[in-house]
């Protein structure tokens, strides 16, 4: 497990910068990846054997049940992706975090096994559900690995925060104007044969912008200049971003009807604002704005009302609006403590899948049924591990931009997982977003691969140091701030 420390980090940094390659063992990652591999092989074996047994029970079948892998080729390719990323980092001598990659591999592998287990005609234009998902994983893995290895400087993110913001808003507007409406939500853009969900990409852009913005204006935001009852608030101009963020989130709810993305963006924004300023007053103000916005949205928009009403009592319309939510809860209930086993859950009702959106919004329900409470706890635990690693990277980052960026990236994954898991478990109203790394969908996988790729890059001690801190605007504004008091 022990890695020989470099003789001189400066030399290593220089060496890697000029292209000299010095391999470095990544023992912990290797061990964890092997453990993940074994886990997934066991899972695939369980699924394959169950399916074989089921097939042998079909009347007229003359094959007996046998122990077999569900899809050995797919599993091998999937594990190969992560082995390749691991090896690439070893060869290039990267000193990135060694826990994130195995954690992502485990979640992704569980997701892939679930996709193998679901009806293959559910979605996917490239040869079925799991085959399409695997192809997306190839792309996502390449993206993740490339970012982790190639990104040696954060200047391209740091310097152009307003450009990123503009890009994000443009993306949003584009979706408003050109987006296709699916299930009453306008979420996806068609690019050729593919449909892209811009909100997935948008969350990364948002974190990049917030990291740049918050790290620059942190001292100002942290100073309270205005008093509003018990709250100390910064000068009005600096509240604009919060109001703007709130308005954008509300706009997403109104126009895009994407409650999940709105909730995710606003929650991550508030958490990052708190990280940057340590000011409870922002959190309180943000929650007040959230409450006001929620009530406004509930009062004005039918799709919000429907969601909340289903949440409060799905049994008021068990065959209509509440159907999926109830089916998900019943799936959890059927799973019990230890689950039915992979492949043995989700009894189809009249040849119909009880949870139509099981591959996108409700994978946790299917996993809860087949892996039981134990499986659900394990999956939740892995997300927490990813968050913990991300926050650890943030806490030990070289400067605030990187700290907030890393924290934001980790939180995007953690909060998104929380929102959809809580929706599936009827803890909060259901909002249609994906379960990171597990749900089916290219946009989601790609965006989350970018998130982890960036996190790994930031975690590398060998990356280019941040520029010296010269907050010009701070110096310009600071005197006026003082005179305000």
């Amino acid at each position: 497990m022990s890695v020989t420390p470099p003789a001189s980090p400066a030399v290593t940094t220089l060496g890697s910068l000029i292209g000299g390659i010095r391999p470095r063992r990544r023992g912990r990652e290797a061990v964890l990846l092997v453990a993940v591999g074994v886990t997934l092989v066991v899972g695939s074996l369980s699924l394959g054997s169950t399916e074989s047994w089921l097939a042998s029970r079909v009347p007229g079948s003359d094959v007996g049940p046998e122990a077999m892998l569900a899809d050995a080729v797919q599993l091998a390719v999937f594990l190969g992706i992560f082995a390749a990323i691991h090896l690439a980092q070893v060869i290039t001598g990267r000193r990135t975090d060694q826990v994130l990659l195995p954690a992502v591999a485990l979640l992704g592998g569980i997701g892939l096994i679930l996709m193998e287990r679901l009806p293959q005609d559910l979605a996917g234009s490239l040869g079925g559900l799991s085959r399409t998902q695997l192809i997306w994983w190839l792309l996502a893995g390449a993206t993740l690995g490339t970012l982790a290895i190639v990104v040696r400087s954060d200047a391209w993110l740091r310097r152009y925060k307003y450009s990123w913001a503009a890009f994000g808003i443009a993306l949003l507007l584009l979706t408003f104007v050109l987006g296709e409406e699916v299930n009453g939500a306008r979420l996806s853009l068609s690019v050729g044969p593919f449909s892209v969900q811009p909100s997935e990409l948008l969350k990364v852009v948002l974190v990049v912008f917030l990291a740049g913005y918050l790290s620059e204006f942190r001292p100002l935001l942290a100073e309270g200049a205005m008093r509003l009852g018990p709250l100390r608030l910064p000068p009005l101009p600096y509240l604009v971003p919060m109001i703007a963020m709130w308005a954008i989130a509300l706009g997403i709810v109104v126009i895009q009807r994407d409650l999940g993305a709105a909730l995710l963006f606003f929650a991550v924004f508030l958490l990052l604002l708190f990280i940057a300023t340590a000011r409870w007053s922002y959190v309180v103000l943000g929650l007040l704005l959230f409450a006001a916005g929620s009530m406004l949205a509930y009062g004005l928009f039918e799709h919000v009302q429907t969601r909340v009403d289903i949440w409060l009592d799905p049994w008021s319309d068990p065959l209509g609006d509440g159907y999926q939510v109830i089916q998900a809860l019943i799936a959890f209930a059927r799973g019990g403590l230890i689950g039915t086993g992979l492949g043995a859950g989700l009894p189809t009702v009249g040849g119909r899948l009880p949870i139509p959106a099981v591959h996108t919004d409700f994978p946790l329900a299917a996993l809860g049924e087949e892996l039981g409470l134990i499986g659900v706890l394990a999956i939740l635990g892995i997300y927490l591990v990813i968050v913990e690693r991300g926050l650890r990277i943030a806490a030990s980052a070289a400067d605030e931009f990187r700290a907030i960026l890393a924290a934001g990236l980790a939180l995007v994954v953690g909060v998104q997982a929380f929102i959809i898991a809580a929706g599936t478990l009827k803890l909060i109203p259901l909002t249609g977003i994906t379960l990171p790394f597990i749900s089916y969908g290219g946009s989601s996988l790609m965006a989350n691969a970018v998130v982890v790729g960036l996190l790994l890059a930031i975690s590398d001690r060998g990356v280019e140091p941040p520029p010296p801190s010269t907050p010009r605007r701070l110096r310009r504004l600071a005197p006026s701030l003082r005179s305000d008091r």
């Binding site: 890695v3 980090p9 047994w53 708190f274 043995a344 009249g350 706890l377 926050l391 809580a422 478990l425």
Partner: protein
Amino acid sequence: MTGHPEGGRPLIRQGGDGRAQRGLPGPGAHPLQGGRSVGRTIVGVGLVLSLAFGTLAATAGYWQVVVSDELVQRPDNPSLVAARQNAVRGLIRDRDGEVLAGNEMGADGLPYRTYIDDTVSPVVGYASRRYGTAGLERAWDAQLTGLASGDPRRDLLRKFDPDPSDPEDLTVGLSLSLQRQAVKLLGRDRGAVVMIDARSGEVLVLASTPTYDASAIADPATSDEAFGALREDPAKPLLPRATQGLYVPGSVFKIVTAAAGLDSGAITPATTYPEQPQAEKDGLLVSGFRVRDGHHPRTGNRALDLTEATEVSCNIYYALTGLGAGGGALAATAGRFGFGSELPFELPTSVSQVTNGGGPLPGGFADDVELANAAYGQAETLATPLQMALVATTIANDGVLMAPHIVTSLTDGAGRVQRIEPSAVRRVLDVGAARAIRAAMTRAVEGDLGKAYTSGAKVPGVLTAGKSGTAELGGTGEPHSWFIGFAPADAPQVAIAVLVEKGGRGGERAAPVAGALMAAYFDTVGG
């Protein structure tokens, strides 16, 4: 933890030693010095996320463990609802093999239910795609659709089955011929007949009138019209009167009072009340209120014992017995018979009561006047016909209450039969007391004076026991007509309760129904 770049390092980096070598800003120029460090807030956010995920874990535990069973078995579980649409339900057969509920294939390719006879509808109920289920169709829905067998191990294996539906056939202890006869005897009156095998608790007849056409509800072509009309019908045919109708019991309740008196030691079979003959003339003064009763001309000035008082249905005797035993004893004994709680039965039952409760006296009686009146089945006393049949069954069975049950066996697709064995609920009173009451009830049918009231209840050639009841409802309307009894009185096989709503005197309307039906029992099932 060793060997990892982040492993074991402090959360806040204070400018490592590598930094100076690389020409990075030293601790003094560290960017984090501009304000409070973000490290602490990051830890805070980490804690918030951990808490949030902890809540998720607890919620998952709630759904998957705490309420798991309840959720899966909900009758409105949509997967059950949907599966039911396709499931060909198991058959329901009577004790002679007659198919009471069968299936027909609809034009839409979905099966629907057909029922042989209107007379069994209040028991068998219906299963309709639109209007859900009732009766046995509801109580045994899981078995009839075959989506759950109640056997956890078989249900676990069934999860692996591509076609999880494995309907089971039900066999019930009902006799279609007796049921038909009971409905015929009730005629156009509203009422109920409950006949139970006194030894096993098997229900032979559970008739309620008016009946209804369950096939019309189950047939998708006619269900809307049929169900709408039945719901509007003022005669309330959808109310299963035998199990859910609550009626003032009148004198049939005296059997409960007798049990309470004997059980509490307030009376023996030989107990007499010297004041009773006079009180029949002047009324019995209870707390300043006079409880009145007619006087039987042929008893003269004799003070009656338990048997004689039962034979002529003496209200004064029973009022005194109730007062002697006390409200607590009366309520407790009635409770052991089943009053005060839902009966242990497959179908939903209304709760019979001795009193409304809440009064200051033991047992919840308001005062002694209420207690005295309740003791002969008036005041606030209410009972279902099933409850009164259980009173008769318990006396016939030497004081042991057998669990009443309709379904006697289940047969699965492979022909395996699962029998439902008779079971005792509890001993209500000791054998001696039960025998004493049995003797009194026998006199009430067979005795010289009793015959005058209940001659119709006598089964020709069989020693018969029973008690009639004429429940005054106040006002000018006809009283409810009751009879409970059993036969043969010396070795009881069958017990019965008959209620005819506003049918007049018990001995005139209800008793002959009971007699004819018990006679039919000995002709067909029994003997």
